[in-house]
């Protein structure tokens, strides 16, 4: 009986998903919290990838302002890497029911790199992204 219960729980979907939300090019994005090792201030890291460019967005002037930036240290098997994101950066708990797979036409036509899903909440729409997928496809490295 307990074995069956253990097996079921290992394949069950969690009721919530912890994410780190951020702003890129004025839009709300989020990355799974399990992928983030730490959040640093802008001066605490050396080279950092710019979130907007990592995601394939054209950054607006406001997001170029380094003072409004935070650094997310992203876990990676080949070594952690830093991504500069715009504030506010917040830890959020999403209900699983608020997380949606991408509609087929969005999958086919959207040009963002690393876009995995969408979340709908009181604050509006959040784009769920995987920075590692985006990094693998990234064309520009920002010093």
């Amino acid at each position: 009986m307990s074995r069956t219960a253990t097996k079921m729980s290992s394949t069950s979907v969690p009721a919530t998903l912890d994410v780190v939300s951020l702003i890129a090019d004025g839009h709300r994005f989020a990355v799974e919290a399990a992928q983030v090792r730490a959040q640093l201030s802008a001066g605490q890291s050396g080279t950092a990838l710019i979130a907007e460019q990592l995601l394939g967005l054209l950054p607006c002037e406001e997001t170029q302002n380094k003072a409004s930036r935070r650094i997310l240290l992203i876990k990676h098997p080949e070594g952690d890497y830093a991504v500069a994101v715009s504030k506010p950066v917040e830890l959020q708990r999403l209900e699983t029911g608020a997380v949606y797979p991408l509609p087929a036409l969005i999958v086919a036509r959207n040009t963002l790199t690393g876009l995995r899903g969408l979340a709908m909440g009181p604050e509006g729409l959040t784009m769920l992204v995987d920075f590692s997928v985006a990094k693998a496809q990234m064309k520009h490295v920002i010093p």
Partner: protein, 170 residues
Amino acid sequence: MEQEQSGLDKVLSLRSSAEIVNVDEPMVKLVVFELDGEYFAFPGEAIAEIMPATDVYFVPGCPPSLEGVINVRGDIESVIRLAELLGKPAADPASTSSILRGQGGGMHSGIRVDRVVDVLDVVQSAIQVPPATLPEHLRRIVSGLMRYQDTPVVILDLDRLFEDYQRGLG
């Protein structure tokens, strides 16, 4: 002596005695809508719903023809701007445009149109084959033509529209 029947008598006699045969012509349900002053239609089976006014959420990274996503009773669906796919000016955002929920080509999406005109049943024979002179970008997605209240209506194939859109149309 029996009077000889005139030609008219014979015709009238034949017509009055002729058995009336009820022929059921196949009917097609169509959702007729307006875009930039012109009428278009989708087959009724391709349209799940005519949506009331709803918020559309912008998704960055989409082409202008992909307006965003809508929340439909706890599910998320994309919304495409049909006007842009057909090379027509986009509807005035302030206007009372409608969203049709369409399904075709194994996928579904909202479709922004200027106005829903009517939902009607027409006999299949009223639908004409599209002319070969149609512009290249319409040739694959137009399945027929008909008239509605003396206005031409272009009938669109939603399966092909979605398939072509996936491949880069618009």
